[in-house]
């Protein structure tokens, strides 16, 4: 019976984004039931902080809370190691160089056909295999359609970092999907 206003605000600010919240949490935790726990906790946080929501994109606001809750949850419930992401692996460096287009072997395979034929299982596996920082920008952009500025706001990473992470995440997926198919 209490908090009528806050409950109504919750219904209009947070509830429309539950699908997005659950999708993001699912990709960050890798598990549906973990994702539900994360979203439930994020909803509680959002409810308590609903007075602080100052307008603007409620979607970005909700996803920021979900994202932070997910990382706190992961730190508490799992031993996961942080990778120094801005160090390129040899593979990636090679790929970046290939992308620049100089003295490059022409690959005869029509890779885009292979990519479009990728099945859901290999797509899921390839996304899940990305490191967390890469995965979150890819999910926010390519599965949830947020723009670069919103992604930067949600992840707290500068715009340039968002752009380079997204680029590398996609390069990894392309490589993975085309290599898998060739086997």
């Amino acid at each position: 019976m209490r908090n009528g206003n806050e409950t109504d605000r919750f219904a209009s600010v947070v509830e429309p984004h539950l699908t997005d919240a659950l999708t993001l949490a699912r990709w960050l935790t890798g598990d549906r039931s973990d994702a539900e726990d994360v979203v439930q906790e994020a909803c509680l946080r959002a409810f308590k902080a609903i007075g602080n929501f100052a307008g603007g994109s409620s979607r970005a606001w909700v996803l920021t809370i979900v994202r932070n809750t997910a990382f706190t949850w992961l730190a508490k419930n799992r031993k996961f190691k942080l990778v120094a992401l801005d160090e390129l692996s040899d593979d990636e460096r090679e790929l970046l160089e290939a992308t620049s287009g100089t003295n490059n072997v022409v690959v005869p395979t029509p890779e885009d056909v292979l990519i479009s034929r990728a099945d859901l299982a290999s797509l899921n596996a390839a996304i899940a295999d990305l490191s967390e920082e890469f995965r979150e920008v890819l999910v926010l952009r390519d599965l949830q359609g947020l723009d670069y500025r919103e992604i930067s706001e949600i992840t707290g990473a500068p715009l340039g970092t968002v752009m380079s992470r997204l680029t590398r995440a996609r390069q990894r997926l392309i490589r993975k999907l085309t290599v898998q198919e060739e086997k």
Binding site: M1, S57, D142
Partner: protein, 259 residues
């Protein structure tokens, strides 16, 4: 104006710019330069086509999670919202609908494709026409007070216009289309990367109906009658989100511009 030379700096930034270009995040001047560069370089063209294929396959195949009513109740309960909202107690129609949903879920989770009438097929055709056009709308705006006057010169009535961007369904534009030989207003909304067309026209029969959901030509369609108008929302968006879109639209304020 930047030129793309062969300096190491360019080598590093070119892939990033290509991605931003494909995401529509570059301004037109840089986009133009980059487009020339891609056309001139077969390797870049190949990378571009790979990226386009990747973006498309991700959008088409990797679907969002679905919210079960159990989970929704769990959230409501955890914030103490479940005791409130007696106004939201399910009506018998809603109960009947949820029984239907439960039956459908039990039978494999697919929506029954109801027999499509010719009008709904028209709606699907109009939706497809808008997707193959260069742009699905003739006036690009998320502002009600831009869209409403634009319709005023083209339709003999004022359709209801609501911007739902705060709820994740931004209004991106509008046009006039023809359904069943009648001019109709078409509002174009986005959800993530999906396009939603919302058609409306006045009808003589003045009774309201609850929403009907069906699938036509692979698209989800939600239709209803309200306040003397007939509405169809159509999209490749999943049925549950399309339904919540129509609910948001129906509860949004009416056609009168409050200013």
């Amino acid at each position: 104006m930047p030129k793309f030379d062969s300096s190491p700096e360019t080598k590093r930034s070119l892939p990033i710019l290509m991605n931003a270009y494909l995401d529509g995040e570059l301004d037109v001047a840089i986009s133009w330069d980059l487009q020339r560069q891609i056309e001139a370089d077969p390797e870049l063209a190949k990378q571009t086509s790979n990226l386009i294929a990747l973006k498309k396959v991700l959008k088409d195949k990797v679907l969002p999670e679905t919210i079960s009513s159990d989970f929704h109740s769990r959230i409501r309960a955890s914030i103490g919202a479940s005791q409130r909202r007696p106004d939201r107690r399910p009506t018998w129609q809603a109960l009947a609908a949820s029984v239907l949903v439960a039956v459908l879920a039990a039978s494999g989770g697919t929506w029954i494709a109801l027999q499509a009438d010719t009008k709904t097929i028209d709606v699907a055709d109009a939706h497809m026409r808008s997707l193959v056009a260069a742009k699905p709308f003739d006036v690009a705006s998320s502002e009600r007070h831009v869209v409403l006057p634009w319709f005023a010169g083209k339709l003999p009535y004022a359709p209801k216009v609501a911007d739902l961007s705060a709820s994740g369904f931004p209004l991106v534009g509008a046009r006039v289309d023809v359904i069943d030989t009648n001019p109709v207003s078409a509002l174009v909304y986005n959800r993530r990367l999906h396009v939603i067309n919302l058609f409306a026209r006045p009808i003589a029969t003045a009774y309201d109906t609850s929403i009907q959901q069906r699938t036509v030509k692979g698209y989800n369609v939600v239709s209803w009658r309200e306040d003397g108008n007939e509405y169809w929302a159509i999209s490749d968006l999943n049925a549950a989100e399309l339904k919540s879109f129509t609910e948001l639209f129906r509860t949004a304020s009416g056609p009168v511009d409050p200013r």
